[in-house]
């Protein structure tokens, strides 16, 4: 391709209108010829064009779907084997991963224990659900409140069940049903802070199970 042919294509290339073949030929030319200094300007101008448009309100669902994918991506161990043992080990691994995120949980925990102030952890979606939540623990009272949003729909015969996990062993911590807005707030009694992970599954109602029978859809590290 000659310099003249390249010049003819640069504007179109920046705008996305060149064919892949043209793009390849131009890139090849540009890698050895440096007289075409308008390339960067054209790209810059093309990059401004979206700013000529009015922003539009994106439906809430788009963000929920996006964040569900993000959390899923963040905790891939949670998704795979339908074998419980491995799933719980995955949760423990995710707990460590969350710790590595630099959320400052440990610092917070230390400070909180000194002052016996409430400790707070975040829960993220562990499957297709978009559920998020927060667990607030009061060390002095040994009680915790688990608050969840965007719970998945539940069959009439089912309940949600909270699990506290230590050394990969789930302990049943209570059952609940979501409110009409898909949110719920659950009171947990005991030394919640001594567990590694909190997770929630769907289980047969009304009393739930003694060991989990389904994959958790939301989970969080307590470390």
């Amino acid at each position: 391709m000659t310099c003249k042919e390249v010049d003819e294509l640069l504007a179109g290339l920046a705008l996305g209108g060149a064919s892949p073949e043209e793009e390849r030929l131009v890139q090849e030319h540009l890698s050895s010829c440096h007289v075409h200094n308008q390339v960067a300007d054209y790209r810059r101008i093309a990059g401004m064009l979206p700013m000529s448009l009015l922003p539009r309100d994106v439906p809430d669902l788009t963000k929920r779907r996006l964040m569900a994918r993000v959390y899923k991506d963040l905790e891939p161990q949670l998704l795979r084997p339908p074998v419980w043992r491995r799933a719980w080990m995955g949760l423990a691994a995710a707990a460590l991963a969350l710790l590595a995120l630099g959320l400052g949980v440990r610092d917070y925990l230390v400070t909180a224990q000194l002052a016996a102030a409430p400790v707070q952890w975040k829960l993220g979606s562990a499957g297709d659900a978009a559920t998020t939540g927060t667990l607030v623990y009061l060390p002095a009272q040994k009680t915790a409140t688990l608050m969840l949003d965007r719970l998945p729909t539940l069959q009439a015969s089912q309940v949600f069940e909270v699990w506290l996990i230590k050394d990969s062993q789930p302990v049943a911590a209570g059952v609940f049903r979501p409110g009409p807005d898909g949110a719920a707030s659950v009171l947990l009694k005991g030394d919640v802070g001594s567990y590694d992970v909190v997770a929630v599954t769907s289980e047969p109602g009304p009393t739930g199970s003694t060991t989990p029978t389904s994959q958790p859809f939301v989970a969080g590290s307590l470390r």
Binding site: D7, E8, L9, L10, A11, G12, A14, L15, G16, G17, A18, S19, E22, Q38, D41, Y42, R44, I45, A46, G47, M48, L49, P50, M51, S52, L53, L54, P55, R56, D57, V58, P59, L61, T62, K63, R65, L66, M67, R69, V70, Y71, D73, L74, L101, G102, G124
Partner: protein
């Protein structure tokens, strides 16, 4: 050149770093809150179908989540980088969608999409939008239409030639003249806006 206020650019860079280095989902959510609306405005302009336009937005931000480490400041502002991801995915989608319906929906260039000066509450962004819209509107109509078909419509040069029944060389010529003029206009505007000595 016009740009966002420096504080906003620093904020955005820190958010991208938080995504790249700490895998912080909240930082991604924040970027989405900041630029999801512009991204959606762009994809709606490119793809008339709201469902598909949303898909592209979601895909683009997931791309940002996965590839935040590929951002570097010499690729321009975070916003420009992010919108170029949106644009590229929008083009891919359009190319897969080559249909009669798309030709019909895109050939009309809705000028009012460029102009209405309300809604946007950030004055800074509003001014910027007006400057770029005005630069576009200052182009001869045939140049503007050709640029919009290429950028927002995702049409190749030869498709534009067919669509407008003009020779391929004319398409390339209009794109080049239009981009040159935009380059002058947008650079000039910035100089006028520089503080008085």
């Amino acid at each position: 050149m016009m740009s966002q206020v420096a504080g906003a650019e620093d904020r955005d860079t820190n958010l991208v770093l938080a995504v790249a280095e700490r895998r912080d989902p909240d930082a991604l959510a924040r970027l989405y809150d900041l630029y999801g609306g512009i991204a959606y405005g762009l994809t709606l302009r490119m793809i008339a179908d709201p469902g598909m336009a949303e898909e592209v937005v979601q895909e683009a931000f997931f791309n940002v989540w996965r590839n935040a480490a590929s951002y570097s400041e010499d690729r321009g502002s975070v916003r420009t980088w992010l919108l170029s991801i949106v644009h590229n995915l929008g083009i891919d989608k359009l190319r897969r969608l080559k249909s009669k319906q798309r030709l019909d929906s895109q050939i009309e260039v809705p000028e009012d999409a460029l102009q209405r000066p309300d809604v946007w509450n950030e004055v800074e962004a509003d001014l910027e939008r007006q400057r770029i819209s005005q630069a576009l509107l200052a182009l001869p109509r045939e140049q503007r239409t050709t640029i919009e078909l290429a950028y927002f419509g995702g049409y190749s040069h030869s498709e534009i030639a067919n669509l407008l029944r003009i020779p391929l060389g004319t398409v390339k010529g209009r794109l080049r003249l239009g981009m040159e003029k935009l380059r002058n206009l947008l650079t000039e505007t910035t100089m006028e806006l520089s503080p008085e000595p």
